[in-house]
């Protein structure tokens, strides 16, 4: 009982800024403009299935790419001596010191038909390639922006793996590849899962990346929700309904992931 008191401010915070808004989203999703109960908006969300599918698909691709880049990187990082490790970590964090919008804006300048990359390719007689305003550019933007969120959790779990465990594995006859597969990988799984969560969730709901790098023609769920509030029609009920469906989908995916994370060593993900 006495342990609950210090948590009180956070509890209040959660209720006011997380629970109440969630209830309001649900309330608006199931009511119409005159505050009468209706299922119309939620069932209307079905017409946006292609947009949902595309968002999930692009977020999945981005998450997988992030994982494949981040995992080896984190593994290499823990092998380095402590000083270099902290420097390297700072370099990973460095882009995050800059404004998110600016970083994405910079990619517009790099990827354009007259951009830096095409100009360099032009020097060796290649291109120009159409890179900006494609789905590939959107994925690139997501990977670039969310990569640190994958590296950091994996690294922080890996760095806690006791070196003596690895030595024991070697003593008992594991080659490095087998140590990796049988020891390091299972032990680092909690980090992998929280990394996946931290990349997938923002990636699925982003709207500014798809607008800036996708040229506005690659509509994602985030764009769709934003359009309901700041678009031509001020339709907060439909916006809330789409948000609600998105939350349920994310919750479903996270539950599936948690199943994996939970049985390995009881560490809850998220």
């Amino acid at each position: 009982m006495k342990n609950k008191l210090p948590a009180a401010p956070y509890l209040v915070w959660m209720i006011v800024f997380i629970l109440v808004p969630l209830i309001m989203v649900a309330y608006f999703a199931f009511t119409d403009k005159d505050a009468h109960f209706t299922l119309d908006y939620v069932s209307n969300v079905a017409q946006y299935t292609p947009i949902f599918v595309r968002s999930i698909w692009l977020a999945l691709i981005s998450t997988v790419i992030c994982l494949f880049i981040a995992y080896p990187l984190a593994y290499i990082l823990i092998g380095m001596n402590t000083n270099i490790q902290s420097t390297m970590l700072m370099i990973v964090m460095l882009p995050m010191w800059m404004n998110f919008l600016l970083r994405t804006y910079a990619w517009m300048a790099l990827l354009g038909n007259n951009g830096l990359i095409n100009a360099l390719l032009g020097l060796v007689g290649l291109g120009p390639f159409k890179m900006l305003n494609t789905e590939g550019a959107v994925v690139l933007g997501m990977v670039y922006n969310y990569l640190p969120f994958m590296i950091l959790p994996i690294y922080s779990v890996m760095v806690k793996i006791d070196k003596s465990v690895l030595e024991a594995a070697a003593d008992l006859g594991c080659n490095p590849a087998k140590t990796m597969l049988k020891v390091v990988f299972p032990l680092s799984l909690p980090g992998v899962f929280s990394g996946i969560t931290m990349v997938f969730v923002p990636a699925i709901s982003t709207f500014i990346i798809s607008r800036m790098l996708g040229g506005g023609g690659n509509l994602l769920i985030g764009d769709l929700i934003e359009m309901q509030f700041l678009g031509n029609s001020y339709n907060i009920n439909l916006g809330a309904a789409i948000s609600l469906v998105l939350m349920v989908i994310v919750l479903l995916i996270m539950t599936i992931l948690n199943q994996f994370g939970a049985d390995d060593d009881g560490v809850m993900v998220i």
Binding site: T49, P50, L132, M212, G217, L230, G231, N232, Q259, D263
Partner: protein, 427 residues
């Protein structure tokens, strides 16, 4: 509709204006005198009606002004007035100044409640919508004597027929910005169909908001810019869908970068911003298409629930002072509805057809947006979502079922796996 970008452009505007005024002078000595005169002209502010403005002095009043980004002269350039600071100096009323980026953002903020503003500057159609929804207060024009400077064309506009709620701040038209080095069609022959021209495939930009995008399609199909007819809107959507295949990107203020860097060759945009853009990149040209276009007006209004109505009216009156209106229009590049400020502009600007098209053209070929019914707005929004989300359907057909199958398989695998693990644990 407005500028949210660096002030760099504007310094060039001033530089260009100074250069032009310099070259116009024959005598070298006169030249210097002239340019100095021009600088001092920009700096000073003459107010005739001092008594009127001192009414609220020392009462500790603060008004909340909510304006577009980069839509006021803020003194950040040499020789320009900081309008809000001048107002505070003159009246003793503090100005709490904040920005928004779109009419819809303004609307959402006011509609959501919790925000209290004294002066807002929505555009035409948003004003009529707000009047309709009782979100604006009637102005007391006795407190706004400077309204007399507003050009007749902008008095009693369609969006505010009795002119009870709004005082025009700036106006402009929508036209086509194009790269004169790459497009060799004579300007007088350029019309909206250039945005559908396959020769410029993947080098065309388009508005990223439904109202402006639909307006272009409506002009091409000969419909009213304020049509609410579902069938007509659908035809427009078809036309825009057809265009999507050759569009490079849907953008708003990114137009500045993309046109400037030569990424795109042609884009529809607002005249005020085109002026700024053309000052920086001389290869760019701007035409207001013959077949017609949208004329927009941004006007000062007081929202319902404003706490300092009289002080707000004083602010509105101050914005109509010739010197202030002149500072505003010179700084932001949009055209002024203030006749006294217009007279202060140099002849070149006055005759500039980009900023100030002929009255005949304005009367016959332009339409001001009116607010649409909720149904029409929703219809347009749905069609727009549809336009923006159409893609090669072939790949999408399989993704849904595949994704579902993957989810189900995954769940089954997990359940079986847990089952096995539990059995192991028992022993």
């Amino acid at each position: 509709m407005k500028k949210i970008f660096s002030n760099k452009f504007f310094s060039l505007t001033i530089a260009a204006a100074l250069c032009l005024s310099l070259s116009a002078c024959a005598d070298h000595i006169e030249e210097e005198a002239d340019s100095e005169e021009e600088e001092s002209e920009v700096q000073t502010l003459t107010i005739e009606n001092d008594e009127y403005y001192s009414r609220f002095r020392n009462k500790g009043i603060t008004i909340n002004v909510y304006n577009w980004g980069e839509y006021i002269s803020d003194g950040s350039e040499e020789n320009t007035l900081n309008v809000n600071a001048e107002f505070t100096d003159l009246t003793g009323i503090k100005v709490n100044y904040t920005n928004y980026a779109t009419n819809e953002e303004l609307y959402a903020k006011l509609k959501g409640g919790g925000a209290s503003y004294d002066v807002i500057i929505p555009s035409d159609y948003m004003i009529s919508r707000m009047i309709h929804e009782n979100m604006l207060q009637k102005l007391d024009f006795d407190n706004i004597p400077n309204f007399k400077y507003i050009t007749d064309t902008f008095v009693n506009p369609e969006y505010d027929p009795q002119n009870e709620y709004s005082v025009p701040y700036t106006w402009g038209t929508v036209g086509i910005i194009y790269d004169t080095t790459m497009i060799d069609i004579p300007p007088e022959e350029i019309d909206w169909d250039i945005l559908w021209n396959e020769d410029y495939s993947d080098r065309i930009l388009m508005f990223d908001n439904p109202r402006d995008a639909f307006a272009i399609a409506e002009i091409r199909l000969g419909y009213s810019l304020n049509t609410e007819d579902a069938k007509e809107l659908e035809n427009c959507a078809d036309l825009l869908k057809e265009q999507k295949t050759i569009i490079q990107a849907y953008v708003m203020d990114e137009v500045f970068d993309k046109m400037g860097a030569g990424e795109a060759l042609v884009a529809p945009y607002y005249a005020g911003d085109a002026v700024t853009l053309m000052d920086e990149y001389e290869d760019l040209g701007f035409v207001t298409p013959k077949s017609g276009t949208n004329l927009f007006v941004d006007a000062l209004c007081i929202p319902a629930g404003a706490k300092q109505k009289e002080a707000a009216e004083m602010y509105i009156n101050f914005m109509c002072e010739p010197d202030i209106a002149y500072a505003t229009t010179s700084y932001i590049g949009y055209s002024t509805p203030n006749s006294a400020a217009f007279d202060m502009l140099d002849e070149e600007t006055q005759n500039d057809k980009v900023s100030y098209p002929d009255n005949e053209y304005l009367n016959n070929n332009t339409t001001i947006f009116r607010n649409l019914s909720d149904e029409a707005n929703q219809k347009m929004q749905d069609l727009w979502t549809d336009i923006k989300s159409t893609q090669d359907e072939s790949q999408n057909k399989w993704i849904v079922p595949l994704f579902l199958v993957a989810c189900v398989t995954l769940s089954i695998v997990i359940i079986i796996r847990r089952h096995i693990i539990r059995k192991k644990d028992v022993f």
